[in-house]
């Protein structure tokens, strides 16, 4: 018995030691915080009204607040899922007619002592009591949202529940006013202690900014961030002239910016890739930073190996051409997918989370979002049309205002005009940012405008002719192909001669044959 015990503990020690050697050198793991877990429970995705995009936006907002969000549809909620490991719970109602039905969740939530936020209709009595006011349903109205001297006309709403007669301890965010003559106004968002309420969720404009403000206050994650100008939808297939033109414009007008681009893992020996990387280098030299964007997913195999190999290939080939991404960007759903998150997002410590496309392509959805050191929430610059863009404007969370890479010359001009009109003070990475991307083989770092690859500082101001020399793979291939070409031609000539001779023989043979008959 004693021996066995000794052997057992010895084995444990040995395996621990082995583990130390086997496990990859530790990557920059976010400090394991215990106060950043949030549970999001929603009633339904309501695909008819496309509310899934609201879930996506909310998830990205929370990720940018460094809150680790776990999402559950109410039908999948099981007793005890909401426990004390969470700092807060968010209930999101996307479909009034469905609403909260899961009794287990309602009981668990009422017992829960952390932060509670309700978004949407169907406020329960207990929730109203917790907020400390009285609720009123307003039907078929169009409201104007006002907040910080900005206004936004909200689309027509069937039913909206507002909370009034609040105690003094409650804090309100924005006001909703009717368009009728008497102009009644109601508070939009409400916080009372650890309870919060938002009557609706919209993924753009002033309402989104108000929502972010409230959620930030509720979870005490309010910061002051200048927006990062980001050009999205760039690929190696994009029109390089337009990218070059816009980056030059930004450089001349001293606008720091970022580009979110995909890359290719094959055909990097082609001139097309040289041209693409040359433009990306000039982006780097003009004060731009590059986020490596997630590739399109189709026909995905279930192993993450393919994706992580691709990621390494992207990094290595780009780095060879002196293009150094500072972070990764991806649609929101990549953070809700085990394979996509582990084999792409987690390599970078700075994320740029883009809105979900119309169709998502999950590989292995687990709804257990991770967080990064910093992740930028993105919204289109154009979605802030009604919001006054002053030079002091700041956002509560790290935010990137995006412009989709224009597709024609007139669009380029329009983008330039839009930029010149905006008064915003843009976030300057060269003054603020340090990032790293680490794969088992490559480490890329960005520190205040300087690039480091595997610890060595890199110069991005290298001409493409020099690069081409660096990566030229010589000429023996050409010599061999010449040999085969010559050989092929020799064969051709040979065959043609044989055919001609054959034809002559056939002709002669025919004549001999016929002559035989004639003599008979």
């Amino acid at each position: 018995m004693k021996n066995n015990k000794f052997a057992g503990s010895f084995l444990v020690v040995i395996s621990l030691l082995l583990l130390l050697f086997i496990v990859d050198p530790p990557q920059p793991v976010q400090a394991a915080r215990t106060d950043n877990k949030v549970l999001l429970v929603y009633d339904s995705q309501n695909n008819l009204q496309k509310k899934a995009k609201n879930i996506d936006a909310l998830q990205r907002v929370l990720t940018s607040m460094n809150l680790q969000i776990r999402t559950v549809e109410q039908a999948d909620y099981k007793k005890g899922d909401l426990n004390s490991s969470y700092v807060g719970v968010i209930t999101m109602i996307n479909w009034r007619q469905v609403g909260l039905k899961n009794r287990t969740f309602i009981t668990d939530r009422s017992k829960f002592s952390g932060i509670k936020l309700h978004i949407g209709n169907n406020l329960l009595k207990s929730e109203i009591e917790a907020l400390g006011g009285s609720a009123q349903d307003l039907y078929r109205q169009q409201f104007i949202l006002k907040n910080h001297a900005n206004t936004q006309t909200l689309p027509f709403s069937e039913t909206i529940t507002v909370v009034q007669n609040l105690p003094k301890s409650a804090k309100t965010f924005g006001t909703l006013s009717t368009q009728q003559e008497d102009q009644k106004s109601y508070p939009f968002g409400v916080i009372n202690g650890t309870n919060g309420y938002l009557p609706s969720f919209r993924s753009s404009g002033l309402s989104l900014m108000t929502e972010i403000e409230l959620i930030g206050q509720l979870f005490s994650r309010v910061g002051k961030y200048q927006p990062l100008l980001t050009f999205t939808n760039v690929t190696p297939y994009s029109n390089l002239e337009y990218i070059d033109d816009l980056s030059l414009y930004c450089y001349k007008n001293e606008i720091p910016f970022a580009i979110s681009t995909t890359s290719v893992s094959q055909n990097t020996d082609l001139k097309a890739f040289d041209r693409f990387t040359a433009v990306m280098r000039s982006v780097e030299n003009r004060g731009g930073i590059i986020f490596l964007n997630a590739p399109e997913v189709s026909n995905a195999d279930n192993s993450g190996q393919t994706l992580s190999n691709k990621f390494s290939d992207y990094l290595v080939t780009l780095a060879q051409h002196k293009v150094f991404p500072v972070g990764v960007s991806a649609p929101g759903y990549w953070n809700q997918d085990k394979i996509l998150r582990n084999n792409f997002l987690d390599y970078g410590d700075h994320w740029l989370m883009l809105p979900d496309p119309e169709e998502t392509a999950f590989v292995h959805q687990d709804n257990k979002a991770n967080v990064a050191t910093e992740s930028f929430f993105t919204m289109p610059l154009s979605s802030l049309k009604e919001v006054k863009k002053t030079s002091t404007m700041a956002f509560a969370i790290p935010t990137a205002l995006t412009i989709s890479m224009p597709d024609s010359k007139t669009h380029v001009q329009m983008v330039k005009r839009e930029l010149s009109r905006s008064q915003l003070t843009w976030y300057d990475p060269a003054n603020n940012l340090t990032t790293r991307i680490a794969t088992p083989s490559t480490l890329l770092e960005y520190k205040y405008g300087n690039y480091f690859a595997n610890g060595q500082q890199e110069d991005t101001q290298i001409s493409s002719s020099l690069l081409n020399k660096e990566f030229d793979d010589g000429s023996p291939k050409a010599a061999m192909s010449k040999y085969f070409r010559v050989q092929g031609n020799v064969f051709m000539v040979f065959f043609v001669i044989v055919t001609v001779v054959l034809l002559v023989f056939i002709y002669l043979g025919q004549r001999v044959y016929w002559n035989n008959f004639r003599r008979k």
């Binding site: 399109e296 997913v297 195999d301 192909s481 034809l503």
Partner: protein, 497 residues
């Protein structure tokens, strides 16, 4: 001894005709791989999707998702209304529907067994083999006739062909139909039957079904119309020119119809692959600037070698709006032809690649066995593949060789054409047009395949080219054995007639 042998042989010949001999042999040889478990067939390279969708079938859920590794034996039959039943409309639907009918009658209303597909193909195939062998040996029952019958078995009974039967590939039907087409023409040429009209009908019906069995077969129109010209020379066939012209026109219209019936998605997939795996390949220099000059953004050279559907992670979505606007809308067949016309050397290289694929009849990228058979993924059977393996080993991979074969074969049969034309016989003439049709297919299908789809799945898209070659070889050898290559009516038979 030899007397006994001779009498035994003559008895055998009396009881079993060469055609029956060939039919029985292929029935046994192919019956074994198709129906006796563990059955063999072909895995799915992605082609099944459309066929299943159109015919109200679906894949039964499986844990194993590599469809191409193994033969899938069972499919589900949809019970509710199938909204996609005209997604693609091809003549292949007839054989699938027939197989489903038999399946429902004898096996199950919910589960489809792939062997019923095999059974339908098998039945028509045996009939075709009988008719073809009969037309090739008529009117003899000599030793040579049995040699020809055996050649028919060796070439057309090859497993590379018969494996297609247990699958949803259109190639199975195409193979059976071309056998009927050749049998019909040779029967007409050699006066096998007293009346001509059944075989004329057979030819046109089979031709139309062949052309419409898949979108890519539109190109076969040319060959079939040329074969039809030969029928004009048949005797005793009233108003024959008009009828044949009408038939040829119908084939042509069927070809045009099927070509334009392709859905947009399939057209885009072909366009993209014709570009990524054709225009961008086999170019000795960097294609970037060549593409620029062609009016397409040179950055698209980065798509070199990519597939439309099957790549897991791509920098850009091949079916996305950006690709459509900047690539797919700019390239079409005309653009591709113009590109190749200005890059002849590259085109020649591509045709040489196609030539190396000509003898690859057996589909190498999908498995032949079912998953429980204990074989490795994508394992290939070697059962009765002597002919296809030999062809694969010795056929040279140069397009110029295809051209030479065409010139050689047409030249050889032109003699018979010339002589019969002089003597007012029609055998050599009808046969000549058959050979011209088959040989043109050998030469233009590679061109068509490269222009419309590049190197993507090239071996499979050359199926009709190699089948034409095999049929010509069969015809050639049988003519040598029958002594009918140049003189279509051998002296010794003149007295009989």
């Amino acid at each position: 001894m030899s007397k006994i042998l001779k009498s035994w042989c003559s008895k055998f010949a009396k009881r079993v005709s060469p055609a029956m001999f060939a039919t029985i042999l292929v029935a046994i040889i192919s019956g074994i791989i198709l129906f006796i478990p563990p059955i063999k067939g072909l895995g799915d390279n992605g082609d099944f999707y459309n066929v299943l969708l159109t015919n109200g079938l679906y894949r039964l859920p499986m844990h194993y998702n590599q469809l191409s590794d193994y033969v899938i034996n069972k499919f589900g039959i949809l019970h509710y209304y199938n909204e996609n039943h005209f997604y693609t409309f091809t003549s292949q639907m007839i054989s699938v529907k027939l197989a489903m009918f038999l399946n429902k009658l004898f096996y199950s209303r919910t589960v489809f067994d792939i062997r019923f597909m095999g059974l339908v193909h098998y039945g028509f195939y045996l009939g075709g083999i009988y008719l073809l062998t009969k037309s090739l040996v008529h009117p003899f029952r000599k030793v040579g006739s049995y040699v020809i019958a055996f050649l028919v078995v060796l070439i057309l009974g090859d497993s590379a062909y018969t494996l297609f039967f247990n699958s949803f590939y259109a190639e199975a039907g195409m193979f059976v139909l071309i056998i009927y087409i050749m049998a019909a023409i040779m029967s007409l040429a050699r006066d096998v039957y007293a009346k001509n009209w059944p075989m004329v009908w057979l030819f046109f019906v089979a031709s139309i079904l062949l052309v419409t069995s898949s979108q890519a077969n539109a190109s076969l129109t040319i060959s079939l119309v040329i074969m039809a010209i030969g029928l004009v020379f048949l005797p005793g066939f009233k108003a024959r020119r008009l009828a044949v012209a009408f038939g040829a026109l119908t084939i042509f219209l069927a070809g045009v119809g099927i070509y334009f019936s392709a859905n947009e998605e399939a057209v885009n997939a072909n366009k993209l692959q014709a570009f990524s795996q054709g225009v961008l390949l086999e170019n000795t220099k960097d294609p970037t600037e060549d593409i620029d000059r062609g009016g397409v953004d040179g950055q698209y050279s980065l798509i070199r070698g990519k597939n439309y559907y099957t790549d897991s992670y791509t920098a850009i979505k091949p079916s996305g709006a950006y690709t459509k606007k900047h690539l797919l809308k700019k390239i079409n067949v005309g653009w591709t032809v113009h590109y190749y016309a200005t890059h002849l050397k590259q085109f020649n290289n591509l045709l040489d690649v196609a030539a190396t694929d000509i003898p690859n009849l057996q589909m190498k990228n999908v498995g032949d066995f079912s998953r429980n058979s204990g074989h490795k993924p994508r394992a290939q059977t070697r059962y009765f593949t002597l002919y296809s393996a030999t062809l694969g080993a010795f056929y040279p991979g140069k397009y110029a060789f295809d051209l030479l074969i065409m010139i050689g074969a047409i030249g050889a049969y032109a003699v018979g054409f010339y002589l019969d034309n002089k003597r007012n016989h029609y055998y050599g003439i009808v046969r000549f047009f058959l050979v011209v049709g088959l040989m043109l297919a050998l030469v233009y299908i590679p061109i068509y395949a490269v222009i419309t789809g590049g190197e993507f799945n090239l071996a499979q898209r050359l199926f009709m080219a190699v089948t034409s070659l095999n049929l010509t070889i069969l015809l050639f050898v049988s003519d040598i054995i029958n002594h009918t290559l140049w003189h279509t009516t051998p002296e010794e038979d003149d007295d009989e007639e």
